[in-house]
């Protein structure tokens, strides 16, 4: 159970390089809403409703979407901090927590998470070296070795151990605390790191430093990132692939430049056009989307985006669009009838793919 010595990090692939590190299939989580006089479960919040995706090795998958679209729930389901209602995961070719697959404990060691709230994610009563050393100690690493490793990790994330190791979280700034959180995640020598809004609470200059640190660490340790954010600029900068979520479902996924350049789903286009442009010639004149996302307790039938979509058509209500590949780029998928000439949507013409 001892984690391997620190740098250089060994590559411990099991599957081939082409095997996606993580494959998620049809993940679902419905939260019961209690109400009524007898506290009977009446309704469910469809927080994550059939999410499937895969993360290639050594790449960063950015997950974007409005608040409440199920990004963080997805992260927690993958990390098994929450039990999914249904769905399965394959980690480097091995089914997670399945017979003959990778055991949950082993899976968790390979996956670590960095949370948004850098203060709440550090125990205020432990020094930061103790916090980093805690995980390895739990897995039986001797105290001295765990401490030495913690110091090495602190140095790696840019915090001088002599100066910071014995400090408490309240004595650090937000950016420093987030570096500590990253160091803690690395203490297990994980292969997949989930960054749940990890830089959202930091100011821009610190954000850039932390993002650069993440990029360096990724190259150095062959990490794979699942980067959850609502900040489209940051996702553009750090991601190789992007997945757009809306109301608990994936609406579009593909390579980052395809998504940012040739978005195929009206929601993605609306989201991207809401980003303030630095170019005065490209200013947005009208709000691309009106209203709020529908209530996830009773999501609309068919396409969930239809009541805010400028291209809505009766077929969108009748049939749920599947996530299908865009012609010419199979890695780029969108769930919209406009991209499917067979859907019966009058707007589904070849030129809409451009």
């Amino acid at each position: 159970m001892n984690s391997a010595p620190l740098p250089p990090s060994p590559v411990h692939d099991r599957g081939s390089p082409a095997q996606p590190l993580l494959v998620v299939r049809d993940l679902k989580k419905h939260f019961p809403v209690r109400g009524g006089p007898l506290e009977r479960t009446k309704k469910f919040v469809h927080a994550v409703d059939g999410v499937s995706f895969s993360v290639p090795k050594g790449k960063t998958l950015g997950i974007v979407g409005e608040s409440g679209c199920g990004k963080s729930t997805t992260a927690r389901l993958i990390a098994r901090l929450m039990q999914a209602d249904s769905g399965s995961m394959v980690f480097d070719g091995e089914g997670v927590d399945e017979f003959g697959g990778i055991r949950l404990k082993e899976f968790r060691r390979n996956l670590q998470m960095v949370f948004q709230d850098s203060f709440a994610s550090l125990n205020p009563r432990l020094t930061i070296a103790e916090t980093i050393a805690y995980g390895p100690r739990v897995h039986g690493m001797p105290a001295a070795e765990a401490k030495r490793q913690a110091h090495d990790l602190l140095a790696r994330v840019g915090l001088a151990p002599a100066q910071f190791a014995s400090r408490y979280p309240h004595e650090l700034s937000g950016g420093q605390r987030q570096r500590v959180n990253i160091a803690r995640a690395l203490a297990f020598d994980p292969r997949l790191v989930i960054l749940d809004e990890a830089v959202a609470a930091l100011d821009k200059s610190v954000q850039a430093q932390v993002l650069n640190l993440l990029q360096e660490l990724k190259a150095e340790r062959q990490l794979t990132y699942l980067f959850i954010s609502h900040d489209l600029h940051v996702v553009h900068y750090i991601s190789d692939y992007v997945m757009v979520m809306y109301l608990g479902q994936v609406v579009e996924t593909g390579p980052v430049e395809r998504i940012y350049g040739q978005a195929a789903h009206p929601y993605t286009r609306a989201l991207l056009s809401a980003v303030p442009s630095m170019d005065p010639d490209r200013r947005t004149e009208s709000s691309p989307l009106a209203g709020d996302p529908p209530n996830p307790i009773n999501p609309p039938s068919g396409c969930r985006f239809r009541d805010r979509c400028p291209h809505a058509h009766p077929v969108c209500e009748a049939r749920t669009p599947a996530l299908i590949g865009i012609a010419g780029e199979p890695a780029h998928q969108a769930a919209c009838h406009l991209n499917d000439p067979a859907s019966g949507h009058p707007g589904a013409l070849p030129e809409t793919q451009a």
Binding site: L111, F115, S121, Y134, V138, H170, E171
Partner: protein, 299 residues
Amino acid sequence: MSTTLELSLPTPAASATPAPSRSYWRVVGRQLRRDPMALAAGLVLLLIVGAAVLAPWLAPADPYKASMLKRLLPIGSPGFLLGSDELGRDMLSRLMHGGRLSLLMGVVPVLAAFGIGTAIGLLAGYVGGRLNMVIMRVLDVFYAFPSVLLAVAISGALGPGMSNSLIALTLVFVPQVVRVAESVTTQVRQLDYIEAARMSGASAFSIIRVHVLGNVLGPVFVYATGLLSVSMILASGLSFLGLGVKPPEPEWGLMLNTLRSAIYVNPWIAALPGALIFITSIAFNLLADSVRSAMDIRR
């Protein structure tokens, strides 16, 4: 302390020489030593506790030796520094001996309730769900009664005597401690550092010991120190009502009761046990306040 720490933040070079001890409790201790109120309250408590503990050796007279000729002598009489009571016993000696029982009955129930209540509260808060609901609803029954009434009722049901009043007081305080421990645990349990610990594959026991207990113990401890004075006053009340210590045992509450009849003859003597109860509980409360602020250095 906290201000100096925060000031050193923007200039990391200033704190390049870290303080030798960085343990949380040492920081709290240092903070307390700089608080004049804490020092004063601590000194008063030290004097009272010292006098009580050392009473058999320090007391000038036998607290049980009565003399019908020397009843209710005023304060400052020769041989009776603080006068004598209604049976002619030396007040100073009786007050010193009485402190032993009064302090014991102030501290023991709180300590017991602290231990039991924290354990139950941690369990209820960490496990949550149905178990939490059952535990908290059962304890709410105790909450329905005022604590004095509850102490009197339990003590009365168990019968008079010191050990029974200790049990009664413990039972009065357990629900209060549980409630504090449970609410703090419930808050702490939802924080990201608990999730991070779960991600590291730690067992529930390890998480509770390292991450939950450390953060729950502080607030519960502060709450419990505040209960010390309540416990002492309730214990004195029980003795006053004849449910606690029995005469001729010296105990402040009981002395207050037996000297009641002398209040018109020699009010100063009659007020002495009350004054001691008052001073001790104030000192406990002030110290509890100081501990509370000293421990609040986390943010």
